[in-house]
């Protein structure tokens, strides 16, 4: 039954679709991956260094895809540049264009460029033909990599990362504010929304990089650096505890205050939102990975056991954080603002804002990442061989 109880007539059809669920999920991964990278660069957590470049490339892959769900959702994507022409300063959404551009160019691309510059120059020198031209353009035509130049790069890169941390918070935090500042919607309206979004973003980003590192390393038949993944898992665990604590605080507060909207929302969580909220987000997506990770922190487990648990926990985490975005966006539209009824989300399959599109957009960043690791290999062993003067790998090698 599509509508239960009473919905205002214009509320029956959901305005924001699964693509709007996908967007915060993607920018969350970007912010989270970047924070993991900054752990090494700024906070000198040496142990996670093997994942530094991979985390940056992961962030870039997802950031490049981030505007796509938005463009596909807009009624007039060809007018989206209006956000650059006449941004409405009272609208949180208006800052998207500038925050995105800033983070893409002045933080992520710049940091990746500065860190990879020596590799790019070396690759340019050893390549021939089109490849050589490509790498020269990537180097902006400057082939100078003296010790001093590289030290300057390191210093500037450090500053960029330091600036990048609040920039990452802004990139994802403003999305939380987009929801949190809507007084018309009691499921969204909360000062905690940006904070909850941020912490769940960090959790998802760390989990994604952990999975990608373990997967790519074993795929390349290299040895997984256990000190690295143990450290990442520890940070995942602590961040998860904070994230879970925040969400529980919100829940307890709602139940205790039991304001006008409570009964309607409570009913929704127990019925239409039960599977995605209680089962997927809380049990499978939060409690299960926290318990698994706690196990690895408290018990003495073997290497292979830990690796398996990390993989499972990280996968469940990603499912849980996606479910969280779903519950916020879709959940916020399933109940009526009259608090007297509920509607259903009819998701198409082969439609502009349908399931197939959502799946394609989720897979696209991995395709981009695959291409990026070919052009700018992030593997630690690969970098060593390059510096030792080995032959430049052909684009297409590992």
């Amino acid at each position: 039954m599509p509508v239960q109880g009473y919905m205002y007539p214009n509320e029956v059809e959901l305005a924001w679709s699964v693509l709007i669920v996908l967007y915060p999920f993607i920018t969350g991964l970007v912010a989270g991956a970047f924070i993991l990278a900054s752990l090494e660069r700024v906070f000198r957590v040496e142990a996670v260094k093997p994942t530094y470049r991979l985390a940056l490339l992961t962030a870039l892959s997802f950031l490049l895809v981030a505007p796509l769900p938005l463009q596909l959702h807009l009624g007039h994507p060809e007018r989206s540049f209006e956000m650059y022409l006449t941004p409405h300063r009272s609208s949180a959404m208006a800052m998207f264009g500038f925050v995105y551009l800033w983070y893409l160019m002045a933080v992520l691309v710049l940091e990746i460029w500065l860190d990879y510059r020596r590799d790019i120059v070396l690759l340019a020198e050893r390549a021939r033909g089109l490849k050589r031209f490509f790498y020269r353009v990537l180097a902006l035509g400057s082939m100078y990599i003296s010790e001093h130049a590289l030290r300057i790069d390191d210093r500037v890169g450090y500053i960029v990362t330091v600036v990048g941390i609040p920039s990452a918070f802004l990139l994802h935090g403003y999305v939380g504010f987009i929801f949190g500042s809507v007084k018309a919607n009691p499921w969204w309206s909360s000062p905690m929304m940006p904070v909850v979004f941020l912490f769940s973003a960090m959790v998802s980003g760390i989990a994604a990089v952990l999975l990608l590192y373990m997967f790519s390393t074993s795929y390349r038949k290299e040895k997984i650096n256990m000190r690295c993944v143990d450290t990442i898992a520890r940070y995942l665990f602590y961040t998860f505890l904070i994230d879970f604590g925040l969400e529980m605080l919100d829940l307890v507060h709602r139940i205790y205050e039991a304001d006008e909207s409570f009964r309607s929302l409570d009913f929704m969580v127990h019925t239409r939102l039960y599977v995605s909220q209680v089962v997927l987000q809380i049990y499978i997506g939060t409690l299960a990975p926290i318990i698994l990770l706690a196990l690895t922190q408290l018990a003495q487990l073997s290497e292979s056991a830990r690796k398996r648990i990390y993989a499972v926990a990280a996968s469940l985490t990603l499912i849980g954080i996606f479910a969280m975005r779903w519950n916020v966006v879709i959940g916020g539209q399933l109940f009526s603002k009259s608090f007297l009824g509920y509607t259903t989300y009819k998701i198409g399959f082969v439609a502009k804002e349908g399931l197939l599109t959502a799946i394609a957009l989720t897979l696209l960043p991995f395709v981009i990442l695959w291409a990026l690791v070919k052009v700018l290999p992030p593997w630690p062993d690969h970098r060593e061989s390059l510096l030792r003067g080995g032959a430049a790998p052909a684009l297409g090698d590992d």
């Binding site: 009473y6 305005a15 807009l74 209006e82 006449t86 609208s91 949180a92 998207f96 009259s338």
Partner: protein
């Protein structure tokens, strides 16, 4: 170019006159209409509404409202005795073709016409990222459909559920208070079609408008006053159970 004090003293009144002319101007639409002389609102008298749905049909005809979407609609409330927190509400096709007979005969029953409240502090115009929806100097909240990008943020931000996305134009749409009529001295289509005078257009800036006397002599409310939207859709005889 150096501007001295004397030049400013001459420039300022000139600028003021020019600004007034700009505010007054809507040359193509109506030469007799001055934006700053009006501040539009509406009065809905619940004690007079009979739920005939004329307003819904008239609005749809006047404004080409797409089927299944509503710039205005009518709700029917059934409140069982003192239980204000649990009304039973229905609005079959927005009340477009009237209402079927009541199933419950006890309790309190009434009709509530709804539409855009043309809020003076509207949350919907606050969130528009590009400036495609706005409040005019004469108090009407409008959508510039040639500028709207269709992000639907305004639809989410409206506490009253009065906005929707036009499925053909892919832009946000809502009640315009029949702006094309009221600027020509006519009343809105819904007020024109209402047989009982339950709906009345109100010009809050016009001292001769009957709304002023009405507001002084009746108990009048707005929807969701705690949202502090500055709603200008006033209801007479609004029950506490209305959402």
């Amino acid at each position: 170019m150096k501007i001295n004090r004397r030049q400013i003293l001459i420039l300022l009144p000139v600028a003021a006159v020019a600004w007034d002319a700009i505010l007054a101007g809507m040359p193509e639409a109506s030469p007799n209409y001055t934006l700053t002389e009006h501040w539009w609102g509406m009065l809905v008298d619940i004690s007079k509404c009979i739920g005939c749905g004329n307003c819904v049909r008239a609005c749809a005809a006047e404004n080409d409202v797409p089927e299944g979407y509503f710039r205005t609609w009518v709700e029917r409330y059934h409140v069982a005795d003192y239980d204000l927190a649990n009304p039973v509400v229905d609005s079959p096709d927005g009340g477009k073709n009237g209402f079927p007979p009541m199933l419950e005969s006890d309790g309190k029953n009434f009709f509530i016409p709804k539409m855009c409240n043309h809020c003076a502090d509207s949350p919907c115009t606050q969130v528009c990222p590009v400036g495609a929806t706005f409040i005019t100097p004469d108090g009407v909240v409008l959508v510039d459909k040639d500028y709207c990008i269709g992000c639907r943020y305004c639809i989410q931000a409206c506490p009253y559920g009065c906005r929707f996305l036009n499925p053909e134009m892919h832009t946000a749409e809502k009640c315009t208070l029949c702006y094309h009529r009221i600027t020509k001295g006519l009343t809105t289509a819904c007020c024109e079609a209402c047989p009982t005078g339950a709906r009345q257009l109100a010009d809050l800036k016009n001292p001769k408008d009957p709304i002023h006397a009405f507001l002084r002599t009746h108990d009048v409310q707005v929807l969701k006053p705690y949202m502090a939207t500055g709603a200008k859709l006033f209801y007479n005889d609004l029950d506490g159970s209305v959402r």
